[in-house]
Every structure is written in structure tokens, then in C-alpha cells.
Amino acid sequence: MPDPLRPPLPDGIVAVVKRDCPTCALVAPVLVALAGQVKLTVFAQDDPSFPEGVDSVDDTNLDVSWHHGIEAVPTLLRVEGGVEVERALGWHRGDWEQLTGVSGLGENLPDWRPGCGSLSVDPDRAGDLAVRFGGSKLRSRRVEFAPLEDEFDAMVQRGWSDGLPLVPPTEKRVMAMLAGTTRSPDEVVAVVPPDLVPCSVEKVAINAVAAGCLPEYLPVVLAAVEAACTDEFNIHGLLATTMPTAPVVIVNGPIRRAIGMNSGKNVFGQGNRANSSIGRALQLIVRNVGGGRPGEVDRATFGNPGKLSFCFAEDEEGSPWQPLSVDLGAQPGVNTVTLFPGEGPRSIVDQLSRVPESLARSFAVNLRTLHHPKLLLAFDCLLAIGPEHARIFAEAGWDKAQLVARLHELLQIPGREFIRGAGGIAEGLPEHLADATLPKFKPDGILIVHCGGGAGLFSTMIGGWVGGEIGSQPVLREIGI
């Protein structure tokens, strides 16, 4: 359907220019000459007195430029019956002569000069223009704050916040955020528990703005929301549990570098905008769209600080092994998010092991303690191996599969150690298992990721939540655009 607000173009030759563009200045005499020979209309983006000698039309509000998709200046159009039939960008004598049907144009000029960017696509103006001219495609309720109200306080008071201030999701900011995806604002991304509310791309974008995301992070947030709201990941149960677990978002593929994610020093810490805001956006969506708030459906006894945001990238370039995403079935080089239902990170210090067997044993004795040394087969784990530890395995030729196999061997626990009452501790598995030997983790229950700073003989373990089909399983999703 034609946009009724789109200003019509006059028939004949139309030029769109700005004084600030050197190529436009260069071709000003050509436009003056053309005005005497053809029906010419010049639209000026920055100064209607330009070019001297031509009666330009004022397009400083960029109405014509925006609606007719002008991307560079000068742009020359041929219009017949109100319809654009030909377009030339920049100055190219041959193109201009063909389009205008006038020969001998600008004979003292170079044959060709590229143009400049149109003001209508200037990144500093694009958001305002989209809001002004785009007609709002956004369907969300508008919430108006009074002039004397502090919007930062008001957003918190409305319950939209995780406790920290939010970036106010104005229409301009949300439109700019939506430029980060090709998906339509009204497309439903997922049905978000616990209220089971269909969540549109627009709602994801609003919360991504609020969380502090840049538009280029939006595809990662969208994939994370999709992954979280699968039956396999079971965000409802993960939210409602009394345990201190929450979605841990791991990003693989070239997009990590493209959006500047941290996979190195302080990888689980503060200081990186993408890491901090992508995980936060997911949590805000569960809170605001799904209605999952602490103390309500979120029944966590302790929670953990990662419930503000726990998102990081794998250090693929420095890793001796294939990335986690490939372990889980993705093609190498594909952008993915993996969601793991995890508690907070716990440090494994081993500064003396120099051979894989010793270090694997260090990992095993630490991994056994996850949640409780006497509780087995209930929880998966995410083992984040630091570069200095990974090097010890790599130099001895151990691949990831060999390490995982060894960890499973080392984590076979005899019943006398884990049954209820063993060690004088009531917690444990039923007494009838006293003669059994059981593994700490199920066969696919150890996930390994490579990240962290280059100095420090440390690794980190992140305990899971109720694993398998009855609870939450790690979920990988490709990141679209």
C-alpha cells in the first residue's frame, strides 16, 4: 500500500543535494546549466540557498529524502507520471547525460566523483526520522511520565527494574534497537513463562533497550529468549525453584568478536557492555513480559548475583579444543547461544599440577562437591577451563573427550560414601544403594568451555540444576539476524 504521507515527486529531473557535500559543490554549475535545459527540481537537505542560481526546494526536514530512500548526495532521479524511473548516485558524467538526455555536461569536471551520505541516513538522525516519518509500527502501550517525574525513579517504581536503573525505552531508542534485526517487530519470538505471554520482537527490543544493549546485540538476545522458552530448558521451573540457579548464556561464533564480547580476563565479571546487558535483557524479559519476579513465582532461597546477568563468550581463538557449540552439535563458525541452568561460578585453584592426570584429579575432587558431595546424578556441570590449565592438557595431547572420559572415571562413587548417614551426614542417597557404585554426573552431564584470562592456573565450575528431561537441559540456538 502506498504511504499516504509520502510526498510526491515532480515529473522531470529531480536532484537531491546538500551544500556540505564537496561533490554537490562540484556539480553546482552542472545543475545551473541543466535548469536552463530540462524541467529540473532540486531538493536541498541543509541549505535551500544552495546551489546559487537554482531555486531549490527546502528539504531540511528531510521529508522527501527519507520517503524516497535517498542514500547519497547528489542523487539524480528521472520521474515520469510521479514515478521514479531512473536514478544516479554521485557524479558520473555518462550516467548524468544518459539520465537527463543532455550531452556535454560538466566538461571541465572529472568524469566521476563519489557522493556523500544523505542526511536522511545519518545515524545520528535515523532514529528521529523513523519515528517522525515511519508511522509508528510499534504496538506497545505508551506510558507517559509527568514533566516533574524522574523517569529513572518512575521506571523502578513501576516494577520494571531488576533493582538497577534502566535506560528509558523511548520510541526512538526502540526503533534504533529494531534496526539490529531483520525480523518484524510484531513477530512472536516465544511464549514466556510463567504467565505464558507471547513475546514479540518489539517487546524484546524494549527490554533490550532498558537493559542497556546496543542494536547489534539484539540477535543474541532474541536467540537467548527462544532458547530459554523451550520445554527442554524449562525457564518456568528454573525461575520457580528454591535453588540458586538461573540461565547462564554462552555465546559462540564470530559474533562474539563483532559485538565486542569478553571471553578473557574477568570473563564472569563486570566491565563489558555486551556481556552485562545481554544476560540482563533476558532476565528483564522473564520479569517484565513473563511476570517472573523474585518472591513471587521466583522462590529462590538465596538466588545468586548472576541473576542480574550471567553471559559470556567462549575464547575460541585461544582454545586447544573445539568450542562448546560444536560439542552440542553446531557447525564450526556458526553463531550460537547456549543456555545452561547454572548457579554462581566456583573457583578451582591448582597451581602445582603440570600433567593432565594430576589436574584431572583436581577437577574431579572439586566437581564432586557440587551442591553436595553425596548427591549424585542429579545435576549437570559447566566446567570453564582457563588458558593456563587448558595448555597442560593440550601439551600432553589430551583432547576434550579424553578429559571428560577421565573425569567420569574419577567420579565413580562407591555407595558406602554417598548413602544416607555415611560420614555421619544424613543427606545422601537411599541406603539400598550401599553396594552400588554411581557416577557423579550422567554421561552428557559435563560441559566444557574455554575462557578466562591468560594468567592464573585456575578453572571454574558452575553447578547445574535438576538435569535431564524432568528438569532443565542445556539448549543451543543459532543466532539469526
Binding site: L138, S140, R141, R142, V143, E144, F145, A146, P147, L148, E149, E151, M155, W160, P168, P169, T170, E171, V174, V192, P193, P194, D195, V197, C199, E202, K203, I206, N207, A210, D231, N234, H236, G237, T241, L284, N288, V289, G290, G291, V466, E469, I470, G471, S472
Partner: protein, 96 residues
């Protein structure tokens, strides 16, 4: 002095206004009524419900037992429908 501007933001919430639902009237007697007992599949929930069932039967109630496949997920729609259509009241057991 220019007029102070209002700030207009887009609502980040699901924009749900939950419909108010009337509570079912409290049962005036248990005699002859059917009470559903929903086990959420947590350890020892069955022990608790066995006791509740005996007490209810002492008071003349019919008792039907139901069980969720896993405590970590909401009850399946079919199970909720079954309980709603067969019972006058339901007791859900949390346990550990």
C-alpha cells in the same frame, strides 16, 4: 521558558490485566464431595498425601489421586482439566 516536556516510554511488560476470577464457594461439607489430591512428584509427597487421604475419607469424602510427571514443570493441561472436571476441591502437596 519552554513548557516542561513529558516523557513517553514504551511499556516493557506483557501488558496483561489479569481477568478477575471469582473464587469457587467454599465447600460447606466434605461428606459426599470429591477431593483431588495432586502429588507434584517431590520425594515423600506420597506419604503426606496418604495421611491426608485417610483423614478425608474419615470425613466422608471421596478421594481421587493425581500426580504431575515432574515437580519442575507446570501440570499438563490435560491433567488440570481432569482435576477440574472430576473434583469439587483439590489439595496440592508440596513436600521434600
Amino acid at each position: 521558558m519552554s513548557e516542561p516536556k513529558t516523557t513517553v516510554l514504551l511499556d516493557p511488560t506483557g501488558e496483561r490485566s489479569p481477568a478477575t476470577r471469582e473464587r469457587v464457594a467454599r465447600l460447606d461439607t466434605l461428606a459426599g464431595k470429591t477431593v483431588g489430591l495432586l502429588d507434584i512428584s517431590k520425594p515423600r509427597g506420597d506419604l503426606f498425601l496418604d495421611t491426608v487421604e485417610a483423614r478425608l475419607r474419615d470425613r466422608g469424602a471421596e478421594v481421587l489421586r493425581f500426580k504431575k510427571p515432574t515437580f519442575t514443570k507446570p501440570a499438563p493441561v490435560d491433567l488440570r482439566h481432569e482435576i477440574a472436571t472430576q473434583c469439587d476441591a483439590v489439595i496440592e502437596a508440596l513436600a521434600d
